[in-house]
């Protein structure tokens, strides 16, 4: 028979807490690794962070770029890359919803639930493997940009800061998408729901066109859209043309701070919500 021995002393208690933390991190690492094996086995799953960013970058730069005149001049290609990071990273966050929805439909979650593991590791592991795919996505956009003439005028550290802001935002957004995955009946509906929410979020922003000439309502929405804040901050850090810098809305005047606040706020809301929805979804 198993018997638990209780040793009522504080050092034991704290070592148990740290052992619990190590176990939790270990569970997260195991599940992140599992998701990466999935990616390695089915590389076509990565098309939305490899082929799509290349395609979007070329299409938007050459189609939109031929018609958009920036308010204060500058090259559309230089302007567009930060926006394309926004469009691609925002829409590829849907992958989190789809991946979780797939898992929930497959029965593997039931197996995990009978194991003495840290339960939220399923969500955290997913968010980390999706952060890696977001980094791949960003690299493809940047590489395509460099090929067609995009040049960040800022130093390397500043430019890396721009990518960092985007990855943080993408990470926060993937927790929001985790919530969508939890309320969707299937991977297909998760994909559909994700697109309906994230596509407008990505488009009604300063990502592809300056907001100056949008109708008033759209302009206000766009100027306060978190996607705009991250894009404007990134343009600033890349030292690329950033027409939003002359807009008086607070997030456009403090784009870096605004994008950090948005990311932290999204995480603070959606990480606990996703955990709650996961518990609810997996309890019957």
């Amino acid at each position: 028979m198993t018997a638990t021995t209780l040793v009522p002393s504080a050092p034991v208690a704290s070592s148990q807490i740290s052992r619990g933390l190590v176990r939790a991190l270990c569970d997260v690492a195991v599940l992140t690794g599992r998701n990466l094996v999935h990616i390695a086995r089915e590389p076509l799953r990565l098309s939305d962070v490899t082929i799509q960013p290349v395609l979007f970058t070329l299409l938007f730069v050459y189609v939109f770029g031929s018609g958009v005149v920036l308010p204060h001049g500058g090259s559309y290609t230089d302007y567009a890359i930060a926006g394309l990071l926004a469009i691609n990273l925002t829409t590829s966050a849907i992958g989190t919803a789809v991946g979780l929805s797939d898992d929930l439909g497959s029965g593997v979650i039931d197996r995990f639930r009978t194991l003495p593991m840290w339960r939220p590791a399923v969500l955290v592991g997913r968010s980390l493997s999706d952060l890696l795919t977001a980094a791949i996505c960003a690299a493809f956009v940047a590489a395509t940009g460099l090929v067609i003439g995009w040049r960040p005028e800022a130093g390397v550290a500043s430019a890396m800061g721009g990518f960092g802001l985007f990855l943080l935002f993408s990470y926060a957004l993937s927790w929001g998408c985790a919530c969508l995955g939890m309320i969707s009946e299937s991977a297909e509906s998760a994909q559909g729901l994700g697109l309906v929410i994230l596509f407008p979020l990505a488009i009604v922003s300063d990502a592809l066109v300056p907001t100056q000439h949008m109708p008033t309502v759209l302009r206000v929405i766009a100027d306060w859209n978190p996607v705009s804040a991250v894009t404007a901050a990134c343009r600033g850090l890349f030292a690329n043309p950033n027409p939003s810098a002359t807009i008086h809305a607070w997030p456009m005047q403090h784009a870096v701070l605004a994008s950090l606040l948005w990311s932290v706020a999204l995480l603070a809301i959606f990480a606990p919500l996703a955990t709650h929805l996961y518990r609810r979804r997996t309890t019957d």
């Binding site: 599940l31 029965g107 039931d110 197996r111 009978t114 194991l115 003495p116 309890t283």
Partner: protein, 214 residues
């Protein structure tokens, strides 16, 4: 073994909407014993197993597994049980070995121990040759055996097998009963469900309890 009860349930009830899936189930399984739960489809066998393995919460009644309450001490229960569910619950994209190592790691085994345990189990279940094949390519019988191996990774003291022979061909069935007999000989407490006692000669001896539609 002691005569301590390893599985006990009192008045377990579970409803899904207006459907009563389980209506006051009582069970007592002493350590090292085997209990077969017999009943037709929809009788609540899977619901009972899901409650006892902490996957489902009972509407009323209580249950203890390995001495722990399945609701209040669910984590401790999970540390003591192995489960082979009726539906496939392994990762179809991973190989057999990767599945077992993952389960070992998530159960708290160190990497080297999880790997060694996976090799042991793959050999024991005659899956060594298929160890590095992706699970999607396994036959039904192989999948079932891997499912059972997955339930044994942590050398649990209590094992739940939900319809372990369903969907298997006669040869695989005989083989599965052989494995089950070995487990019982090792002293594992076992609860298994089946629709029919179709292999009475090869089924292990133990107590059988029937469960009828709620």
């Amino acid at each position: 073994m002691t005569s301590t009860l390893m599985i006990e349930a009192h008045g377990l009830t579970k409803r899904f909407g207006s459907t009563v899936a389980l209506d006051g189930l009582d069970l007592e399984v002493p350590g090292g014993a085997i209990l077969g739960v017999l009943g037709p489809n929809g009788a609540g066998k899977t619901t009972a197993v899901r409650i006892l393995t902490t996957l489902s919460l009972p509407d009323s009644g209580s249950a203890r597994v390995a001495g722990y309450d399945v609701v209040r001490e669910a984590a401790a229960v999970r540390g003591n049980i192995g489960v082979t569910a009726q539906d496939a619950t392994l990762d179809g994209v991973l190989t057999g070995r990767q599945n077992l190592v993952m389960i070992g790691r998530l159960s708290g085994l160190r990497r080297a121990d999880a790997r060694a345990r996976a090799i042991d189990l793959l050999e024991r279940f005659d899956l060594a040759d298929a160890a590095d094949r992706v699970l999607k390519g396994y036959s039904g019988g192989m999948r079932r055996r891997l499912d059972l191996a997955a339930g044994l990774v942590t050398r649990p003291s209590v094992l739940f097998l939900d319809e372990p022979t369903t969907g298997l061909d006669p040869t695989s069935r005989v083989r599965m009963w052989g494995v089950i007999r070995e487990l019982v000989a090792d002293g594992v407490t076992l609860l298994l469900t089946t629709q029919t006692l179709d292999e009475p000669t090869s089924s292990p001896t133990g107590s059988w309890s029937s469960i009828t539609a709620g």
